[in-house]
Every structure is written in C-alpha cells, then in structure tokens.
Symmetry: D2
Subunit: 386 residues, 4 copies
C-alpha cells in the first residue's frame, strides 16, 4: 500500500500493482506534461500536470465503481484505465494534439501496446480490453470516456483549483450518487441538475480558460513552432508520446530562424496581437467555419502575407476549438424511460446555440506588424464554405 | 490597470508600471522556475512557480503596507520589491542555490543592476534603494526580508495549497492586523499566537515537505548533476539566473555518462536508496554536523566509494538543511517593552531544541548497489568536528 | 477600530460608528434569526444567521464602492445600509414574511424610524435617505437592492458554504471588477459571464435549497403554526421584528391543540407527506398558479378536509415561491449601448422558461392520514384561474 | 440508504437502522443545541450544532474503522456510538454542563437507558455495550472517547470551519492512516507529527475560541442565569437533556428580576466587564487555582459584593477551564516499543507548561459598576489553596 497526496482529493491509496504501473517511465513522463499547456502564461497557477489528473481520475473511477456496486475486479480495471487514459498525450497536452494526425486516444493505445505497460498489464488483465475501455467501448468504458465520465469531472475541478476560476466547481458528490449502470451509464432523474451544472461549468470554462483569448494566441504561436519542428525532422510525430514539455521547448530554443524567434517570443511573453476577429454567432451557419480545410487556411495566410508584405510564418489564422458538449447525449432515466439529457433539460438545450457565443475566428500578427494591418480588409481573404 | 488571477489570493490588481516590470524577460522567466524544485516528484501538485509566489508576495506586502498606514509611495516601493525579490533564483530554486557560491539575494541584486530592470526601476525609484529593501535593510526592508516577512507568509500558504499538506495554513489575517512599524517591524502582543502558529507551520512543513526524505534524495541526485554541468562548463554559475528549469534538464539529458544517467534516473523516478542515517537529535552537539566542510564530505564519499568499489559519482553524503527559525527573533511589544518572541513564548523556545528532531545526515546509493552496503560501517568514514 | 471574523470573508473591519449601530438590540437580534429558516432540518449545517449575512453584505458593499471609486462618505453610507438592510426580518426570515401583509423591506423601514437606530443614524446621515437606499431607490440604491446587488452575492456564497451545496459558488471577484455606476449600476460586457453564472447559481439553488421539497413541507407546517399564533393574539404581526426564532418556537410549544401538535411534529421531524403534486411546467400557463387567491386556497383546503374527513388544520395546499430572476434586467454596456442582460445572453433568456422546471403545487397531509388520500382526485378540488 | 449533506465532509451515507436512530426526538434535539454555546456572540458564524458534529464523528469513525480493517459489525457499532455520543448534552453544550453535578457522558448513558433509544439499539446490539464504548471503555472505545478520538478530530475541524479561525485545520488524513488497533489505539511513528499538530491546534483554539476572553464572560453570565433557574425549579437538572437552547432562553426571558435582567443583557450583548485578572502562568503553582472549592468562590463573591455594595448576583469570579491535553498520553509505537507521545515529542512536552500561558482567573462586573471597582484590591479577597 502506498499513498499519494493529491491537493484536491487528499491522500489517495494505491496497491502494489498500481504502483508498478505508475513507476513506469510512460506514466512518470506525465509529471512533466502540463495539463493545460501554455495556460500558465494567462493563469499563473495553471502548472498542474497530466500525472495528477490521471491519479485524480483513478480516485473518482474508484468511487463511482463503488457506488455502482461493481465487483472488486471491475473496480480495479477501471482504476487502471484511469491511470493510463492520458499516457499518449504529447507535450503541452491538447496543444500538440492539434498538429498531429492522430488523437491522443489512438496514441495511448499504440503506446500501451508497444511499451512495457502492455507486459505489466498482462499480469492481471488483457491489455486489449483495457485499451477498449479507455476508448470508451463497452458498458464500463463509458465511465472512463463517455458523455459524463470521470475524466471530465476531475479536469473541471482541477482546472478550477489551479486557475482560481470558480466556474468549474461542480457537484461531483451528487453526480456520482445518481448514476446507475445498465447497458450504458445512466443518470437518475435526481442527478439532472448536477449534470446541467457540469455542462454549464464547461460552457463557462470555455471562454475563461480553455479558449481564453490570450491562450488561443499563445497556442497558435506554439503550434507554428511545433509544425516546423516536425517538418524539419527535429521531433517525430509518431513518437510524440516520448517527449515532455522540456524536450520541445529546448529543441525549439536550439533552432535558428523563425522557430527560435517564436519560442523566444513565448518565453518573454511578447505575444502576437489580434488584428481581425469574426464572431461565429453572427454567422448564419457557424458550423461552416469548422469545415474550412487546413490547406485552404494555409493559402489564405499566404495571400495575406504577400499582400501585407509580412513573412508568411507570421500570419496566423486561428479557428477556435469546436465546442462539443457530449454530455448533452447523456441518457437519463425518467419514470422508467430513457431520454436524452437535452430533451429533459431546457438549460442543456440552450447550449446548442449558446455555445457559439464566445467563439470567433481570429487573425494574429506580431505586434510590430499590427499597424500595417490597419484598415486592411481581412474578410476578403477568408472564404467560408456554405 | 490589469488583473492577474491568483489561485490563492484571487484577482490581483497591477498598475502600468508594475505590468512593465513583470513583462520583462527576467520576471517572465520566473514562470518557468518551480517554487519547490523537484518536490513535484513527491507531491504531484507541487508545480507552482516563483512567478505566482512573487505576485502573491506583492499582494501581501500591499496589504501589510496598507495596515501599517504607509504612504502610497512606500507601498508602491514594497510591491515592486516583492515582485523582484526572487528574480535571482536559479532553476529549481533552492536546489541550484546549494551548489552556488552565492545566495539568491546576491544574485537578485546583481541581476537587477546588469539588466533592463534597473533602467525601468529608475523611472520611479533609485534601484540601489530597492535592492537594499530586498536585502532586508532599513525599516521597510523587514517587510520583504525579515523575521516575519511577506515572503514567508506567502510561501507557507502556497506550498500548502499545492502540496495538499494542511500544516502551512497560517492565520495571515491576524498577523497582518497585529503588526506595527517603529524602528523595526514589531508584533503586537495580540499577534503572538499567530506568530507561534506560523513558526510551527514551518516546523511541520520541514519534514513533511521541505526536507521530506524522498525530496532530499532527489535534490542530492540533481545537485550532483548540476555540479558536473558547472565543472564541465555547460552551465555558467554566474549566469544561473538566465536559465530556467527546462534549460538544465535538457542540457543534462544531452550529456553522456554519469550526468545523463542521473538525469535519466530522475526522469523515471529510479531513486537512490538510503543506506545510512545519523539522527541529529541523538548527537551531543547537532550543530557540529553543519560545520563539516564540503571538501571533507567529498573525501568521505571518495573513501566509501573505494572501499565498496562503487563509482564515486554514486556515493552521496547528504547533510540536511539547517533548520533556522529566524521568526524567533521577532520583536514583540508587551506592556510598552520590546521583547524577543522566544522570551515571551514557551512554544517558540521549545523549537530551539525540537528543530533537530527530524534532521538526519544520510548516505544514498543507487538501488543496484544498496545490497553491497549491507553491514558496512558507514559511521567509521564520517568525522564530525567537535 | 474593531474586527469581526467572518467565516467566509475573513477579518472584517468596523469603525466606531458601525460598532455603535451593530451593538443595538435591533441588529443584535439578527444573530438569533436563521438566514434560511428551517432549512437546517434538511441541511444540518444551515444554521447561519441574518447577522453574519448583514456584515458580509457590508463587506461586499465596501469593496464594490471602492471599485466604483465612490467617495468615502458614499462608501460609509452603503456599508451602513448593508448592516441595516435585513433588520426588519421576522423569525426564520422568509418563512414568517410569507404570512405577513408587509414585506421585510417595509418592516425594516418602519423599524428604523421607530427605534434608536434612527437616532444613531442621524449623527451622520439623514435616516430617510438611508431607508431609500435600502429600498433600492436612487443610483446608489441599486448596490443594496437591485438586479445584481451585494445582498444576493453574499447570500449565494454563504448559503453554499453552510449547506455544502456547491452551486452557489459564484465569481464575486469578476462581478465586482466589471461594474460601473452611471445613472444606474451597469455591468461591463466582460462581466456578462459572471452574471450568467450568478443567475444560474440561483436557478440551481432554487430546487436544491430554497425550494427543496422537504423544506417546503416544513415551511408550510410552520406557517400554519404562525398564522394561528397571529390569529389568537400570541404574536403581533406588526411587531414581528421584535421576536427571534426562540420566541416563536417557545410560544408555539406552550400552546395546546393543533399549534402545539404542529410544533411537536417539527421538533421531532415527523413531517407531513406529499399526497399530490402538480408540475407547473406541464401547464399551459404556469403563471396562473400564482394568481390563486389565498381565500380560494383556504376554501379548497376546507373542501378536501371535509371530503376526506381530516381536521382542516391538517390539509395544506402549497403554492411554490415565484421564481423571479430580476438579474435578467441588469443593464449591460456593450459597444457603447445599454442592453438588457437577457438580450445579450441566450443562457439568461432560457431561464425565462426553465424557471418553472422544478416548481410544483403540492398538497401535504400528516403521515397518518396519507393512506386515506390514496386514489383521491385532488385535482378536482383545485381551480386555477385562466 | 439515505444521504445527509455535511458542509465539511460532503454527502454522508446512512443505512436504515441509522436513520431510525437519528429520527428519534433524542437525536433530533441535537439539531437545536449549539456546539459552541454562546460563542456565536463572538464569532458570528459559530451556530453549528451537536447534530452535525455527531454525524461528522460517525463519518470519521467509519473511515478509521475501515482503515483499521475492523469487521463490518464493529464498524456499524462505532458509527452508532458516534451518533449517540453527545445525546446527553444539555442546552448550549458545555456551558450547561458546568453547572450540573454530572458529566454529559453520564447523562448520555442515563438518557439511552431510559428512552426509546435503548429499545432501538436492542434490535442489533446490547445497549450497555454501546454505552461502554461511548464512555471510552475497551479497545474499540478509544476510537470514540480516547486520547486521540474521532470526536476531537471532528470538532476541531468543524469549529474552525464555522468560526473562520484557521488553527483547527488538522491533518485528519494522516492521523487516520497512521493508527493501528492493538490492546489500545496506537499511533504509528509516522503519525507523530500529525498528532503534535492536533494538540497544537487545540492549544491555539483554547484562547482564540474555547476560552476566548469574551466567551468566558458570556458563559459566566449565562451560568448564573441557569443556576438560578435550577434553584427556583424552572429547569430540572436531571432532565437537562430534554431541553434545547430555545427552552432555556425563553424560560429565562419569562422570569423577573436578576435572571431576566441577565438574559436581557445577553440578548443585547451588554456584557459584563473584566475588572480583575490573575494570570496563572505567573503563579508558582497554577494547578492550585483549580482546587478552589465552589463554596469558597461563592463566599469570595459575597465579600466583594458587600464591600463594593453591588448586588451579589452581579459579582462573578471566573476560574478558567482546566486545559487538559489528554492527547499527550497517546501511545506511540516506535521501533517495536510503545512510548508515550510526550516522551517522543519535545513539542508535546512543552505544552505541559505552556498550557497555562493564556489562562487567567477573572472577575467580572456589569459595566455600570466597573468604575466602582477602580483601585479596589480584589486579590485580597481571593484565597488560593497551597
């Protein structure tokens, strides 16, 4: 038996097998991956890591399993899944994911199979089954990756704690006590309110934290760096889960030219400025924005750079993250029937539209060029599919 | 006006001048220096940085100044001092300090004078006066660096918040409301209890966090790395305040031989094991341990390494940090007289002895050699001056 | 200078004049009035009082005034208003208000004018002006009683703290930092999200706390008691602000017959049971329910009691509190224009409908009679105006 | 299964049997007994009750039992004991205890035997065994009432939460995880620090909360009231556990003469003033003060009243509560031996003397008489046994 002290959930207990898993380089690496990427440049306390989040998810999985009256073996499986669920994340978490062809879930699966994790898992479980659960397959899978999973519960609480933004304080107690497991993870009617509140927490965290205006600029700058490091072969995308935050930073610093320049700006917080913003909720079809192909964006940037006579590395068009709220699809048992959360809750329904409230497509330039852009008609250079 | 959201103290306000100071590379670098070095390998939430601590100290300095009814200009000076007070810290904070000839206070002063900070400061203040205050000189200096300063108040609270260890929760309200400024910062008799509690908080944080057994092993391993990087010229000690945590880590990883090996062990948490421990409170004169010269320790290590046939890089003798409790000297006004806190408080007096309770001199070896050490009489190789 | 330690906001400072006000029997009485009436029978920690809430509101008023850059005198006025704003509350707060002809605001005004409070106020202010502010009149009045006032901010936070229900944790920092005072209290666009979140906090606290099913039963039972005490002259409604919680309870216990019986049930938590519930969101016009006259309800109860052969004191028809969300009307400054919060926020607009989600008209009977009601068609006895 | 939401420990689960126990008038009454008596007149948030404390202790007992690997039946027994352990407390908790001949433990035992609690208990347990456990007898008894019991853990945390005084924040996690049950409840060496910290929490809470100067005045005034109510037969001491806070208050208010006057002063916070204070730590033998007989104190008061020509009801000599720190006796397992906590911990040893630091014997008079006492030699009228 070992204990880890989590700043959120207190002393968390680990058995020998779990300690063995956690003591692998693959899980230890997560201690060096910031949960919220570069958000610490906006909220100085946001230095928490994928490691503590994984342990925290393990704890919540355990409590939920206990409440669902699952067997000890099932509970143990879920704990192990939670420990592993983010192992495939690249440096700075989602920031690197955006420039990869593969999702972190796929990478997690690949990593488990090709590393010692697989061997350790085999002592107690079938690794492929663990991978399935992590991908959200099967009844138990929904607990790890579903509409209303322990991953989300932990990160909302944790991101609130470390940013100091109160919105993410959700009523985990009530959620956990109002779930049951049938073919699927079901919410009891008494838990609807707690689920609404969780969805809203995410809705509010979106512009305040996850898609905070400054964070988006920083992420865009960093992705430009990372892309170049990939292209020039300094970092191998397929092995992204072998690097930690420091690796990327120091590799970038050791370059010359635009990459080093971009990294230097990030280090000194000399951030690009927004020279154009297109609010999605003013569009007839906001969804179309997410259909612009990457190649197209590249070419828009190219045109603008030529027109304004600015090096093309320095023109960034940034499409916001798509605000998906999968929790809407949660099944709720109401008088013996199963209905969709969004059917039963007006609040949830509202979010379908409201989610574009805070989203905008932006163009950023280095501060020294931002005057050049005065009066420039950026909208002429951006084509949105119908 | 700008606001920074601190996870401890809430929304903190900054004026234009302060923003300018904070936006320098020197202060921005602090975002990349962990407050507690490698403690995150023991308490996974301990990823907080010198940056947030500096802003937090600024806030407490401001509140204390307000309560002491200082002038606006004095308050502004103190805020600026708090922002700057840790600028000279090397990577991983105190861990690197231990292998340098100079204290972080000296380095802070040097850094201010040789960088753009000095120029910015000159717009409003005399830089040398700011440096004096930061060093704790003069009446106001005690607020920044004294027996009971805002630095300490902030770090105790902050370290508690991020490690999840409750001991550091001190009653800052009561302390701040019970201080007055005469020739010196004086505690009113009503604040004695809060001061006792602060001292005790530090006393308890010492073995639980600051000198946690595992943390000491990790720090010793890292210092060995760092020393070697200095010796081989990869890192320049006089410029230590130019590097951040990532710089050192990636430099170490890029080496070959023992340095890279040590760094690899740290990355994967393959830690040295304790093979010998000498409890200081069992010695007649615990203070003597702190008088062993560095050169001597080197030679003890050498002898042990030869005797046990282990590479000398792998034998680490670790003398604990000296548990100094300067708060004891705090002046307390009691019925019109000034007395020492330790005179008025039995609790505080007790700490004079109790502080060695948890301290021990240790010897660490890599796990693979720890069997070799079975039955070995380490005490024969360690000579403590009378 | 004096300090009061508030469990939410920390050490709060009071000047001599404020201490004088607070030391009157009128304000001291608030220490003995529970903020949430009988909610402690549902959430055992909900024993907090109007007194701490008044001091807490004073603190928030002070901070808001400071941020709005009001003069010291204006700030002092607002602090005093916050201290006094609930002085007219009867025992168990809103529970007694419901059976009075007058609102607690009217009673506060009456109490101030006829008590020593008026005399004390006159030393520094014109009492009638203070009363106006408390009633929400004038520019400054909106800070005390308006769409987005300090009263609400404090009670949401406080009720969350003491019930342990997380929904009320609102981002007071952001609200306060995003207000400005023109003809009216205006929210800056940057504060919209914090305001949305506050409205939602109230929306969620409604069914979980304020209109919790069990709390409603308890309140209905208690109101029946209180009405009888009024009718029989044991308590004088016009003097309701002279009694505290203990007075009413002991008066009720000392009665005979139905009053004592009802009080006895409350003391021992032998609560009435719900035998009928009409969900308002299933009605075409939920608003109509709030138009049923008190006299009508009395007669419905009478008929049911005769039909079922149950003493009429024991049949309770309970119309829920009207879920008014005045915050919707908050003025928001957006690109130089003033718009209504509900215009700018889809979320807020949604609440207009959603607010009836959790409301229902209920009928309660003592447990021993609840079988009698099986199969009884209560709906035939309730007539809702068109 | 039922849940109660505790503001400290979250959603607490109760089984059917426990609900039955809790739903008795004897346990429901605890909802109306303030945990800290009149402390709410000093800390306005201190309105918490014996009820929540009992439920909280149940939760901690449960967790400790789980960690000690006790059987389900033993765990259930301990939970039930915690629920019941304070059932015998009179109104305002310890304030009334001081004027009774019997301790609240004796009264709890009496109450259980003579009420329906005994009958309910018999369904699952032998009531006398439960009573024994509550009194701290036997191995398991130490968990409920011992040197380091769950009662203490809960009240320190709870009193801190509601007063806002940070000292009581103890590391319950570490305590619980470092206990083992042999013949007795034993602390593992790793838990020494947490135990030290708990003792110190109590040491600091003593003058800040439990024996706060103003609280002592209030309690003395109230006890005078209560004594008179006993003497005149309005309240029957043997039945003290049948009354709640409201009963006593309203009975006192309904009197005439000194009792009503005293109650009136309490209601309006017109408190007695301290006219004399004898610091115990300046005495050669502080313990002697606790040996002054009640009869003697009565006669000292009488003499002073005659000499100063003040009604004798208005002269109060107040001996502080004896600061016993039973935690000192906790058994610690250290290298296979059992030693006393005070042997192993210098800090704990210190408290043996330090505990008198904040204690003083005081004399209080109504404010209107306090001038009369100027220059009066109170010490001549107080005789302390050798």
């Amino acid at each position: 038996m070992k204990f880890i002290r989590d700043s959120l959930h207190g002393n968390l207990q680990l058995n020998e097998f779990e300690v063995k898993l956690i003591d692998t380089p693959q899980i230890q690496r997560l201690r060096r991956i910031k949960q919220l990427g570069f958000t610490f440049l906006v909220y100085p306390g946001a230095n928490h890591t994928r490691f503590e989040h994984s342990i925290g998810s393990m704890y919540l999985a355990s409590r939920l399993a206990y409440n669902l009256k699952l067997s000890n073996e099932q509970r143990e499986m879920l704990r192990v899944c939670a420990i592993l669920h983010d192992a495939g994340h690249g440096p700075f978490s989602h920031v690197s994911e955006a420039v990869l062809a593969k999702s972190h879930e796929e990478l997690t699966s690949k990593l488990i199979l090709e590393s010692e994790l697989s061997e350790i898992l085999s002592e107690k479980f079938v690794p492929k089954e663990i991978i399935k659960l992590i991908s959200g397959e099967g009844r138990l899978g929904h607990i790890i990756s579903g509409d209303l999973d322990v991953d989300r519960m932990d990160y909302l609480l944790r991101d609130s704690y470390y940013t100091g933004v109160a919105y993410g304080v959700i009523d985990v107690e009530r959620l956990i006590h109002n779930m049951k497991l049938e073919d699927n993870l079901i919410l009891k009617a008494k838990g609807v309110q707690a689920a609404e509140s969780m969805l809203l927490a995410r809705y509010f965290m979106y512009p305040s934290v996850y898609q905070h205006h400054t964070t988006r600029i920083i992420n865009s700058m960093f992705r430009r760096c990372l892309n170049q490091l990939f292209k020039e072969g300094y970092i191998i995308p397929e092995k992204i889960y072998k690097y930690d935050d420091s690796d990327i930073i120091s590799t970038a610093r050791n370059q010359k030219g635009p990459i080093a320049d971009m990294m230097h700006r990030l280090d000194n917080r000399k951030l690009f400025k927004t020279v154009y913003s297109l609010k999605l909720d003013e569009l007839e079809n906001p969804n179309a924005v997410f259909k612009i192909e990457a190649k197209k964006i590249k070419s828009f940037e190219q045109e603008i750079s030529e027109e304004l006579d600015i090096p093309s590395e320095y023109v960034i068009i940034d499409v916001p993250d798509y605000p998906s709220f999968d929790e809407m699809k949660t099944n709720v048992s109401s008088n013996g029937n199963l209905v969709n959360l969004s059917e039963i809750s007006t609040i949830v329904r509202t979010l379908r539209d409201a989610r574009f409230n805070h989203a905008d497509l932006c163009i950023y330039l280095p501060e020294e060029y931002s005057n050049t852009a005065n009066g420039f008609n950026f909208e002429n250079y951006i084509e949105i599919p119908k």
